[in-house]
Every structure is written in structure tokens, then in C-alpha cells.
């Protein structure tokens, strides 16, 4: 057997029960993801993409099946262990940004480090660095309410990568952004991914976004029905083309 994959999912199921009604959001997902892959997760609405992401990100536990994250049996881990896994191994980027309101960009980015008990000076230095990497060196003191959507998403990305997690999860990160800003965010993710050895799993509705992934997984009714490796396009080029067209 080859080296253990970075992510390994074995027959994952997730059943939500609301009183009498049982919703089977995942019906047996088995999957390996290697370190450094850029996976796009596509599929119809309600097919279970977000449910799967929550389990991958240790926010939720599968009803049945197993999930290993970097060799750790994350599917069976308790609340506290999963909190620590989230803090150290996972970065989240949400469709709705999910920044703390009335809190400066810098402080938002500092949060994961705070829960990791990184000291004040080191924490600020690393948060600044992350914000510089996403091109927001001049907006550090702004609260989310004084940032554009694209800027807010870049703060969220800075927050997700500040603790240098091996896994970055993004659930429709471009869903609330216009085409151009979406491309910019993709270019940023791409750049960050190539710079480190991050594994990225990204949910999207738009085929336009999925083309930047190295692998596309298609879901339907709680199952993975398509799994395609592809040569990714470079979002920077797409951005340049968009500039020419305009």
C-alpha cells in the first residue's frame, strides 16, 4: 500500500433526523485526497456538498463511516479534539465571509492564533503577514463594515491561512462576489496554494470556477457520482483575459 493519503473517507454517511423525518444527506462517500490536491466539489443543490465539507472540517461528525485527516481518526474524535483539529489543521472560507463585526481586519485574522495561544507580538506579526499576502496591508484596521465584499473575503482567506493549516476548505467562496472579484479570489487561493503545500477543497456551483481545480468531484443525492482529474487553468490568466475583453 502506498503512503497514507492526506484525507481518507470510508463509507461516510450522515443522516439528519428531525422527529419522524430522516434526511440522508450523505449515503456512503468513500474518497482519498492526496496532499496538495485542489479539489472542486460540484453538484446540484441539496446533494450534500456542505454536509461533506462540515465533516471534512471537523465541524460535524459522520453518522457512520470513518474519516482520517492527516493520519488522525477525525471522524471519531471528541468535541475538544475536533476543536483542536479545526484550529491547527483546517482553514475555513465561507460564502458569507463570517468575519466578526466591529472587529478590525487584523484582529479577525489574529483569532485562530489566539485560540492557539500564540503570544501577542508573534500573533500580530503573523496576522500582518497574512493580510499582506492577500494584498490588504493598508486595510488592517478596518472593520468588515468598511470593506468591500472582495476585501472581506480576502480577510477571511488571510484568517484561514494565518495558522498555516494543511487543509483549506472553501464553501462557495465566490458565491457572493461578481465575476471579476471571484476570479481575483480564485487567483489568490491558487497563489497561496502553490506557495505552500496546502490541500484545497472548494465547493462551487459555477463550472467557471471548477476549471481551476486539479480534480472535480460531482455529487448527487449524497453520493459522489463523478471524479475527474483535470489540467487546471491559471486564474491569473483568466483575469488577464477578462481585462482584455473589457
Amino acid at each position: 500500500m502506498a503512503a497514507d493519503p492526506f484525507l481518507r473517507l470510508e463509507d461516510l454517511t450522515k443522516t439528519y433526523s428531525m422527529g419522524e423525518i430522516r434526511v440522508e444527506a450523505l449515503r456512503g462517500v468513500s474518497l482519498d485526497v492526496q496532499r496538495g490536491e485542489f479539489v472542486a466539489l460540484v453538484g446540484t443543490s441539496g446533494s450534500g456538498k456542505s454536509t461533506l465539507m462540515n465533516i471534512l472540517g471537523c465541524l460535524d461528525r459522520p453518522t457512520r463511516g470513518r474519516y482520517w485527516l492527516g493520519g488522525v481518526d477525525a471522524g471519531a474524535a471528541g468535541d475538544r479534539a475536533r476543536a483542536i483539529l479545526r484550529n491547527t489543521r483546517v482553514g475555513f472560507v465561507f460564502q458569507g465571509f463570517n468575519l466578526l463585526p466591529r472587529t478590525s481586519a487584523l484582529e479577525n485574522v489574529e483569532l485562530p492564533l489566539m485560540y492557539r495561544r500564540v503570544g501577542g507580538r508573534d500573533r500580530r506579526r503573523r496576522a500582518r503577514l497574512a493580510l499582506e499576502q492577500v494584498g490588504l496591508a493598508d486595510r488592517m484596521d478596518h472593520p468588515p463594515s468598511r470593506l468591500s465584499g472582495g476585501q472581506q473575503q480576502r480577510v477571511a482567506i488571510a484568517r484561514a491561512i494565518v495558522s498555516e493549516p494543511p487543509l483549506l476548505l472553501a464553501d462557495e467562496p465566490t458565491g457572493n462576489l461578481d465575476t471579476r472579484t471571484g476570479l481575483e479570489v480564485m487567483a489568490l487561493l491558487w497563489e497561496l496554494k502553490t506557495r505552500s503545500d496546502m490541500t484545497v477543497v472548494l465547493v462551487t456551483h459555477e463550472p467557471d470556477i471548477a476549471r481551476f481545480a486539479t480534480r472535480v468531484l460531482t455529487m448527487r443525492d449524497g453520493r459522489v457520482v463523478g471524479d475527474q482529474a483535470q489540467a487546471p487553468e491559471d486564474p491569473a490568466r483568466a483575469l488577464a483575459l477578462l481585462g482584455e475583453a473589457a
Binding site: D60, A83, N87
Partner: protein, 410 residues
């Protein structure tokens, strides 16, 4: 998170909702202020009572007629008083350790000087009265023993009488009429001010007992020479209680009271009165303190209410923090520290307000106030404790939130 970070985050969170934070801690502020002010004023009042107690003289006893233990309840019944001058003489001769005995006959009388008149109470008494009261004359001197024995028509005026009847005139040597009886003014008493029950102690005329009895009371020929009060002082303060007992036995015997019958007189130990006042003050203080603590608890419930609302409102924030790796403990501590900071700040402000209120009482009413640093520490610690107790439920609720549910919360 470190203690410093927790504190900073809590202060920031509270600062984001300034009005709400201040209103929610108002209950704590007020109750702590009340505790501190009450303690300060109460301590001052105790000190004042102690002073008065020292002033009353702990070696003093008052014997009064009637079985009721209410001081002065039977003053109008002067003629039917069960006490007599003979009782006073018996106390003087038969009880060991007595220093002064001063019987007093009180006669309500109109005092007239020129065209002015004033209703007062003439106290017919002996020279020892001034010693018992540690009272001195301001002008002139008291009558001598010869005058006392023959019942000379001489009198000492209290300051109030002088103020009322001798406006701009010198009372010394003047003749006033007590009812129908002309009487020479031989001295003026020092000003004594208000008594313990607010009465004017300077509204008084003193004259020899024999003169008061013969000229004013109209009972000169009665066999029993009644009096309204007998003041007794002990030579040594520690004998006071013994004297009280012995006087009781003596008077029961003299009044021929059967073993099963009640006293027809009372003996009051002034030290006891002061102690009673002191213990009343303490009781009131404790009661007020209990009320203040109850209001502190009510304030705590207010804090809990606001914290619960805050947890609900900030569910999404909690979800974000959980997603970023906060543990349940981190979330619990975050809200708990907020509650404690809120109540501790409330407590500190309350202490400041209470101290200011005590100062105000001091300067407005002239009461002594004494702020005890111990009370300050206890007040702040107790309000912090209220924060822990009443912050716990909302904090636990926050810590138990499911990350996904919390993130989905609108």
C-alpha cells in the same frame, strides 16, 4: 486564551454595547453603593452612640415611679408618684457604693419676667443634681446648702428660658415669678442642647426641692414627700448593676410589695439604654445590609438576563469562534469573564458612589461616616462573585452550542 486576552476581549465586547452594559450593571452599582454608604453611615452612627453613651455616664441610674418600663410615661401623675424623698434618703444611707442621690420633683409652671412669660417645667432638686448631670453654671453659682435646707426662693435658669425671657437683658439677680411665686435668679446653666430623644434640655428651671414642694406643688403638708425621679450615681461604674439590684430590693421592701407583685417603680441603667440603642443600630444595619445583598442578587439576575440575550444575539459569533478552533471552555470563559468584568466594574463604580454618598451625608448632616476598606474589598469581591454565579448559566449555554447550528444562525 491567556487571562490578559480574556480580559481585553471581554472589555471590548462590553464596550461595543456601552449603553446596554451600563444599564445592565446599574442594579449592581446601586446595591453596592447602598451597601457601602450604609456601612459608612452606620459605622458613624455607632460611633456617635458610643460617644453619647460615654456622655450619659455609665455609672448613672434613674429610679422612676410606676410599673411600666416606659421612661416618663407617668410624669403627669406626679402627685400619685410612688417615689418619695424618703426613698431617696434610704438609698443614700442603706445602699453601699452610692456617690450621689438627686431626687427630682417636676412641676409644670409658667415663668414670668416683666411682661414676658414662658411655660416650662421647674425641677425641684438638690445640689447633687448638677453633679449627677455633670452640669455647670455659666453665670452665678448654685444655691448653698443653707438655702437648700430652708427652701430658699432661689433658682437657676436654663439657657432657653434666658433666650425667651431676657432678650438683651441680664438675668442675674433678677426676680422671676414661677406661677405666683417670686424667685431670685442666682445663676444661668450651661447650654446642653438636645437630649437623646430630641427634647430641649435647656428648657428648665432648677430650684431647691423644699422650695418647689412648698411653694409650687401645693402638697407641703403631706406626710409622704413624693418625687418624680431619683437619680443615683455609683462611686465606681462597675458597681452600677449591683446598685440597680440593691435599690430594687430596698424599694420593694420599703413599698411593702409582696413577692408575687410587680414593682411600683422602675430602675433604669443608662448604660443599658445606650447598649439597647447600639444593638438597635446594629440590627438596623444588618437588616439594611441584607436588603442590599438581596438587591445585589436581583442585580445579578438582571445581568443573567442580559447575558442570555447577548448569547442569543452573538450565536453566529460563537459559531465563527468555534470554527476557528475555540474549545467549549474558551467560549465558556469568554462569557463568564464578560459577566464578571461587568459586575466587578459595577461593584467598583458602586463603591465610588457609595463613598461619595457617605461624604455627602457627612457634610450635609454632620454625621460621622467611616468607610471601612474591608467593606470595599468585600463589596467588589461579592459583586464579582455575583458575576460568576449569574454568568454561569448563559456561559454554559454559549459553550454548549453546536458549531454548525451556531454558524447557520441569522
Amino acid at each position: 486564551m491567556s487571562a490578559f486576552l480574556l480580559l481585553r476581549e471581554a472589555l471590548r465586547a462590553l464596550a461595543r454595547q456601552k449603553l446596554r452594559s451600563s444599564l445592565s450593571t446599574l442594579g449592581i452599582v446601586i446595591s453596592v453603593a447602598a451597601v457601602v454608604a450604609m456601612q459608612a453611615v452606620g459605622a458613624g452612627a455607632s460611633a456617635r452612640i458610643s460617644e453619647q453613651m460615654a456622655g450619659l455616664g455609665t455609672n448613672r441610674l434613674v429610679v422612676f415611679p410606676g410599673s411600666m418600663r416606659t421612661f416618663g410615661a407617668r410624669t403627669s401623675a406626679a402627685l400619685s408618684s410612688s417615689l418619695s424623698e424618703q426613698d431617696a434618703d434610704a438609698i443614700r444611707t442603706e445602699v453601699r457604693g452610692v456617690r450621689h442621690v438627686a431626687p427630682v420633683l417636676r412641676v409644670p409652671t409658667q415663668v414670668i419676667a416683666g411682661n414676658q412669660n414662658w411655660p416650662t417645667t421647674v425641677h425641684g432638686t438638690t445640689l447633687e443634681y448638677l453633679a449627677v448631670q455633670s452640669w455647670k453654671t455659666r453665670e452665678g453659682t448654685a444655691w448653698d446648702s443653707g438655702a437648700e435646707a430652708r427652701g430658699a426662693k432661689q433658682c437657676l435658669l436654663g439657657q432657653t428660658i434666658v433666650d425667651q425671657l431676657f432678650i438683651g437683658k441680664d438675668p442675674m439677680g433678677a426676680v422671676v415669678r414661677l406661677g405666683q411665686v417670686p424667685c431670685e435668679v442666682i445663676g444661668v446653666l450651661d447650654r446642653k442642647g438636645q437630649g437623646a430623644r430630641g427634647e430641649d434640655q435647656d428648657d428648665i428651671v432648677l430650684m431647691p426641692l423644699a422650695a418647689a414642694r412648698a411653694r409650687l406643688s401645693g402638697e407641703s403638708r403631706a406626710r409622704v414627700k413624693t418625687v418624680n425621679l431619683i437619680y443615683v450615681t455609683a462611686a465606681r461604674p462597675e458597681d452600677t448593676s449591683r446598685l440597680e439590684r440593691e435599690i430594687t430590693v430596698l424599694l420593694r421592701q420599703r413599698h411593702a410589695i409582696g413577692a408575687d407583685d410587680e414593682d411600683d417603680f422602675g430602675v433604669r441603667n443608662l448604660a443599658e439604654i445606650a447598649q439597647a440603642a447600639q444593638s438597635t443600630a446594629t440590627t438596623v444595619k444588618v437588616l439594611l445590609l441584607v436588603i442590599a445583598l438581596i438587591s445585589l442578587v436581583v442585580g445579578g439576575i438582571g445581568i443573567m438576563n442580559i447575558m442570555l440575550v447577548s448569547v442569543t444575539e452573538r450565536t453566529r459569533e460563537i459559531g465563527i469562534r468555534l470554527a476557528l478552533g475555540a474549545t467549549a471552555t474558551d467560549v465558556l470563559l469568554q462569557f463568564l469573564v464578560e459577566a464578571v468584568v461587568l459586575t466587578a466594574i459595577g461593584g467598583a463604580i458602586g463603591v465610588a458612589l457609595g463613598a461619595a454618598a457617605a461624604r455627602a451625608v457627612h457634610s450635609l448632616m454632620g454625621w460621622n461616616t467611616a468607610l471601612d476598606p474591608k467593606v470595599v474589598v468585600v463589596a467588589v469581591c461579592f459583586s464579582a462573585l455575583v458575576g460568576v454565579v449569574f454568568g454561569l448559566l448563559p456561559s454554559i449555554r454559549a459553550a454548549r452550542l453546536d458549531p454548525i447550528e451556531a454558524l447557520r444562525h441569522e
